[in-house]
Symmetry: C2
């Protein structure tokens, strides 16, 4: 039986962590904050992956492990599977969640993460977008940690140009 906690608690904790890292420990050093948030996600993904695969035979290939992430792992975490999986058959996989839960409470227009602020009125929007971007390092880290534990070193990034959908791009290291 998988036990559950209120998602709003998880949301709030994550928001607090991101805010602490960005404003307290690594103020004005967003790259460092991002790296640390990703590293926390990595550890969480590592622990969860170990727990969820404890009674399972080892995966024989990359696709099998990725499918495990899309189905079992995602279901344990979010009570739903990844909605769409694509691959270029050369080590890149795109995992799309059509309504990624950890983003659905966010406001602003986070698709403009890399857009430059033109005037003060867009500043707060860009701040919200930046906070959303920071949040995403956590699930990216979770996926990377889970896959590494399964013997697959990779890089993971997030694409939220199509909100509320979120795509995680997994590039397996060769």
């Amino acid at each position: 039986m998988v036990r559950e906690v209120s998602e709003s608690c998880m949301d709030s904790l994550l928001t607090e962590i991101v805010s602490s890292y960005c404003n307290r420990f690594y103020a004005n050093k967003p790259e460092l904050a991002a790296r640390r948030i990703e590293a926390i996600g990595y550890q969480v993904g590592h622990q969860l992956s170990e727990r969820y695969t404890i009674e399972r035979p080892r995966f024989t290939d990359h696709l099998e492990a990725i499918k495990f992430i899309c189905k079992d792992f995602w279901s344990e975490l979010f009570k739903k599977q990844i909605d769409n999986l694509k691959t270029n058959h050369r080590g890149t996989f795109v995992l799309q969640d059509n309504k990624f839960r950890w983003l659905s409470r966010m406001s602003g227009d986070p698709s403009e993460i890399s857009g430059a602020a033109q005037d003060p009125s867009t500043m707060s929007e860009n701040k919200a977008a930046q906070a959303t971007g920071m949040h995403l390092y956590f699930p990216c880290g979770i996926i990377r940690g889970a896959l590494s534990t399964l013997g697959i070193p990779c890089a993971v990034s997030a694409d939220i140009s199509n909100l509320p959908a979120c795509s995680f791009v997994v590039r397996i290291k060769v």
Copy 2:
């Protein structure tokens, strides 16, 4: 509808946060680490309390607010109510959860948090106990944050001398 996430994810995240704060940001400064972990709990409790009471009339007295924490608030967070509530009718309330979820995966003998290490063989046990103690600052902060948001300033501590039960002692400030 309350949405839920896997508790193991919350567990892992909390463990990582505690470890980061104790070993990275506030190494050898456990009081500071404790204060920061409590402060994060406070913010989470504040946010959750605002969310959960948004359509509710204001509480008219302390007991009513404490009962809200024991029933509705705890149910939202942990899918169960506080098992036992005691008060001395002079501003101190003891909220006992007979099987507190965030402790049930811990090992060691955390009841000895304040016991002094006598020989090296007990060192690792004491370390586990200290980690458990650190974990508890988070739910203590949550309760304090929630009650403060309801207009009740207080101090909250945890008593785990009777594991797996955990009692939260709320002392209302006059």
